[in-house]
């Protein structure tokens, strides 16, 4: 059968685009395009450290925004707790390399020498966390089954447990002499002490294993292990939060996840080993060549953008698969999805956990980029910034998320100094206009908010933009998979 030429051409070009987007070669190609950017960041004559820092922040924000896009856009769960997952990743990753990547026998105290130590810390934490989860689960089962005795028993038991906790925190440590309830109050501190014991028991064999590794492998392996630990624990906490709260919908889920984020932040704020209110300095490496501010920009660049590409790739592939289709079906109509045999909880939790995993990885990268962590950076506003990126990009739209994440990372910096990219602005010939522009920086938060409102209005109502998006979507969407045409 002969089709008209334009239709054939149109189909062929759509096929090419769809094939490129689906192929296994797109991602390495994307990585290649990053090389010149990396070279720029490395060369301080081209890009000053301030610019390099913003470029690296772009990469971290891409990872965070794309992972939030999976939770909020593709899976349709309105989460406001992304900063919480990021904080878990940042503090765990930072703490792991700061404390356990130094070889115990090494007098110079150089970090990034002992990947085995970092790995052992992660494994020990995992074992103890699973034990704690098991104990909590047992307690939960006991409390729940007490309903059979009397319906009022579970709440009474819950109050007792809370009372136990309060007494333990309030007066437990004030009493030095052995009292009858010392055993009782030591219940809560058992877990940290167990963790300490397990870590110290395995640390020297782990360090010995590390010394067998080639020297040049140690630093990347340390960082990789720290990232995986950060991601794993963020993902596990996503599971922990997701299982009970994903039964909630809309505003209620938003409030629950918001509460989770704040619990994490306040929890860290009160944990001495993580620096509490003073903050955690990842960069205190006495003799390290790159002490001062985390890892140098040119070292961490491939890590940050590698993570961004990996997150985008995993989430894009997940979204464009049978699993992703089921996740989007649950988003559109949960009752109908259940009626056609989709396990709705399973799919929501998968999206939540994968999103949390990449938030944790991004957090750990952030820790190593800045070299200093403070709980204020993981406050509620951080989550809101990410939600704004996802909302502007459009729910479920991964490529726009990447673009908007880059744009909204640069925007505040450009507003701070509108002449950021102007050449020769520092020469004495710079006119009054430049001076006025610099004054505009004072109003940057006002302009920022007005711009956000304008962008949202334009996105919703500006027909050319909408039509363009739809045309592109129609081209890629639903084109037959490889070889089916």
């Amino acid at each position: 059968m002969e089709l008209p030429a334009p239709i054939i051409a149109c189909r062929a070009s759509a096929g090419v685009w769809a094939a490129v987007l689906r192929s296994n070669w797109l991602w390495p190609l994307l990585l290649l395009t990053l090389l010149p950017l990396g070279a720029l960041v490395e060369n301080e004559n081209c890009v000053n450290p301030y610019f390099a820092h913003i470029i690296l922040l772009c990469g971290i924000n891409i990872t965070l925004a794309v992972s939030l896009q999976l939770i909020n856009g593709i899976s349709g769960q309105f989460s406001l707790g992304h900063a919480g997952f990021m904080a878990i990743g940042a503090y765990l990753g930072g703490f792991a390399t700061l404390t356990y990547s130094v070889l115990p026998a090494d007098v110079s105290g150089d970090p990034f020498r002992s990947p085995g130590g970092v790995l052992w810390f992660g494994l020990a934490l995992l074992v103890v966390a699973l034990l704690a989860a098991g104990a909590l689960w047992l307690l939960f089962i006991l409390i729940r089954s007490s309903r059979r005795i009397h319906p009022a028993m579970p709440p009474i038991f819950m109050l007792l447990v809370i009372l136990w906790f309060v007494i333990d925190r309030a007066i437990g440590y004030q009493l030095e002499h052995p009292a009858w309830y010392l055993l009782w109050t030591r219940g809560w501190s058992g877990l940290p002490r167990l963790l300490d014991f397990v870590i110290h028991a395995g640390m020297s064999p782990a360090a010995r294993v590390s010394t067998w590794l080639p020297h040049s492998w140690c630093k990347p392996l340390c960082l990789l292990t720290a990232l995986l630990i950060a991601g794993t624990f963020a993902g596990l906490s996503g599971l922990l939060v997701g299982l009970p709260t994903l039964r909630l919908r809309g505003d209620y889920l938003a409030i629950a996840t918001l509460g989770f984020g704040e619990i994490i932040r306040v929890g860290i704020l009160n944990t001495e080993p993580l620096g509490a209110a003073t903050g955690l300095s990842v960069s205190i490496y006495p003799n390290a060549a790159d002490s001062g501010a985390g890892l140098s920009a040119h070292y961490i660049f491939p890590w940050i953008f590698g993570a961004a590409v990996a997150a985008t790739m995993v989430i894009w592939r997940l979204a464009k698969s049978a699993k992703g289709r089921a996740i989007r079906a649950v988003r559109d109509d949960e009752i109908a999805a259940a009626a056609i045999g989709i396990d709705t909880t399973h799919h929501k939790v998968i999206a939540f956990v994968i999103g949390a995993f990449f938030a944790g990885v991004a957090g750990a990268l952030y820790a190593h980029l800045d070299g200093y962590l403070n709980t204020n950076e993981f406050a509620f506003t951080r989550s809101i910034e990410l939600v704004v990126i996802v909302t502007i990009a459009g729910l479920g739209n991964i490529w726009w998320t990447v673009a908007v994440a880059i744009g909204l990372t640069w925007l505040p910096e450009i507003l701070r100094d509108p002449t950021l990219f102007a050449i020769g602005k520092n020469s004495h010939k710079a006119g009054l206009f430049v001076q006025y522009c610099k004054q505009l920086g004072e109003f940057r938060m006002v302009i920022y908010s007005v711009l956000l409102i304008a962008i949202m209005l334009a996105r919703a109502n500006w027909p050319p933009l909408r039509a363009m998006c739809q045309r592109w979507l129609a081209l890629v969407r639903n084109h037959p998979p490889n070889g089916a045409c």
Binding site: A329, I335, G341, I342, A474
Partner: protein, 254 residues
């Protein structure tokens, strides 16, 4: 033994007996209707069978397996699919995706296969794509395959909902007011479609419908509900002549 057998089904919402003492049988290839005035408990009966509510009393047995108390997904896996009174399509998915997502086997490959995209992934996505298109073609929806489901005309949305239910390869199909909001010409088409589905897919069809013309023409048996209780069971002719049914619909003679 019939394919679907419901005995003495009942549920209370607070003090209201929404459904009580409901009995029903359905065999494959049968076409049976459930009618009754508004608020009679018809959709409640569907929701009980489909697992949206758990029944307070009674048994639901599909092919020797008890369905009472299972969740909707498990009931669907057991071989029962339904459509909804107010259309519940996945609005932001394409027409084709709406059908493919319901082909249960397509979601079976694990997370690793999804992320690595090996040959198996492509083979399976080609297969489900072909099956989805085939099903759409059977229901004459294939020209809309790449359009968003939310943008379809009303009658086609109803058809798509039926296609999606059929994609789960059910043995029993529950249609909740499939003709609601359709014009007379669409209703005639729908009638033919329902008969065609019954013969082609060999499913037992149980439908709720308010359009008496349609119900009387296509159904083999009719169950009448009023105030949560069964008023009558019988062939269309018997139901039309039943004085209790006439009273429920038109009121008692003065």
């Amino acid at each position: 033994m019939p394919l679907l057998e419901i005995t003495n089904l009942g549920i209370c919402f607070g003090g209201l007996h929404a459904l009580a003492g409901f009995n029903f049988v359905l065999d494959s290839g049968e076409l049976v209707a459930l009618i009754g005035p508004n608020g009679a408990g018809k959709t409640t009966a569907f929701n009980l069978v489909a697992g949206i509510y758990a029944p307070d009393a009674g048994r639901i047995v599909l092919d020797g397996r008890s369905l009472a108390g299972l969740d909707p997904a498990a009931i669907n896996h057991a071989g029962l699919a339904r459509t909804f009174q107010n259309i519940r399509l996945f609005q932001n998915l394409t027409v084709l995706d709406n059908v493919i997502v319901a082909l249960n086997n397509s979601a079976e490959h694990g997370l690793l296969t999804t992320l690595l995209r090996g040959p198996r992934f492509h083979r399976e996505s080609r297969k489900s794509h072909a099956r989805g298109m085939e099903l759409l073609a059977t229901l004459r929806l294939d020209q809309y395959a790449s359009r968003l489901a939310g943008g379809l005309p009303y009658g086609d949305q109803r058809r798509l909902e039926i296609a999606r239910a059929l994609a789960t390869s059910p043995r029993i199909l529950l249609l909740d007011e499939p003709a609601a909001g359709m014009n007379p010409r669409e209703k005639v088409e729908l009638m033919e479609l329902i008969r065609f589905i019954r013969d082609r897919f060999k499913v037992g069809i149980w439908l709720i419908e308010h359009d008496m013309n349609l119900v009387m023409k296509i159904s083999q048996r009719i169950t009448v509900l009023d105030h949560g209780e069964m008023l009558a069971v019988g062939s269309p002719d018997e139901i039309q002549a039943n004085p209790k049914v006439i009273e429920a619909y038109l009121g008692a003679p003065a």
